[in-house]
């Protein structure tokens, strides 16, 4: 399985990512998921989320998750982009692409990847309110 992981402080350029897509002729599913920053976190209105990552460990944990996916599903490729730093409301903080022969394994692998990320990958978020740069408590 081909994998690509990017942790970036810059915006996610989905058109560029799709233009770079490599997909063999046996593949029938190209699944893309965007995780987008909501304006409400725990019923509080925010303007952005500030993401912090322990980069080395995050990359290692994503690699372990990729290995688990490769053992469980016939996935041709998995690409993940996660932003770090301040991400405004309505912008994606997470972009995932799974290329697979059929939709079932693509959906299952994508769901697994995101669930595993939320359990294991050391990335944290702080809501940014309208009147302060960051709050003191994580969401």
């Amino acid at each position: 399985m081909k994998t690509q992981l990017t942790l970036t402080p810059g915006p996610i350029d989905e058109l560029a990512l799709i233009a770079e897509r490599e997909m063999s002729d046996g593949m029938g599913a190209a699944l893309v998921f965007n995780g987008v920053v909501r304006a409400q976190e725990d019923e509080v209105t925010i303007v952005a989320i500030d993401y912090e990552a322990f980069d080395d460990m995050a990359c290692h944990q994503f690699e372990l998750i990729f290995e688990e996916i490769d053992r469980q599903w016939p996935i041709e490729s998995a690409r993940v982009v996660h932003r770090v730093g301040v991400v405004p409301v309505n912008e994606p903080s997470l972009w995932v692409e799974i290329i697979a022969p059929h939709r079932a394994e693509a959906f299952e692998a994508c769901q697994f990847l995101i669930n595993a990320m939320k359990e294991r990958v050391p990335i944290w978020k702080r809501p940014v309110g309208e009147t302060s740069s960051t709050s003191s408590q994580a969401v």
Binding site: F54, M57, I114, K118, P122, W124, R126, A138
Partner: protein, 81 residues
């Protein structure tokens, strides 16, 4: 032995530092290091049971035996996505 401990997310706010070093007896475990950190920063005691612990880039259990120079990380539950 001497180990370093890094704090992440709001643990840094509570400790008001990004890292500290600990001197521990030979044979100390990750749980021993965690206990020593809480003695130094009591505010982290309330979060003891929800604290995630890693050595290097891998999660490790409380009974993990430490070695001189190990880099420990302590942090709250992760929140990516």
């Amino acid at each position: 032995m001497t180990v370093t401990v890094q704090f992440w997310s709001y643990f840094k706010d509570h400790t008001q530092c990004a890292a500290t070093s600990l001197k521990l007896p030979d044979g100390a475990t990750l749980a021993d290091a965690h206990t020593a950190v809480i003695a130094q920063f009591p505010v982290l005691g309330d979060m003891r049971h929800s604290t995630l612990k890693a050595v290097g880039v891998d999660y490790q259990p409380d009974e993990f035996p430490l070695n001189d120079g190990d880099e420990i990380s302590l942090f709250p539950p992760v929140q990516g996505g």
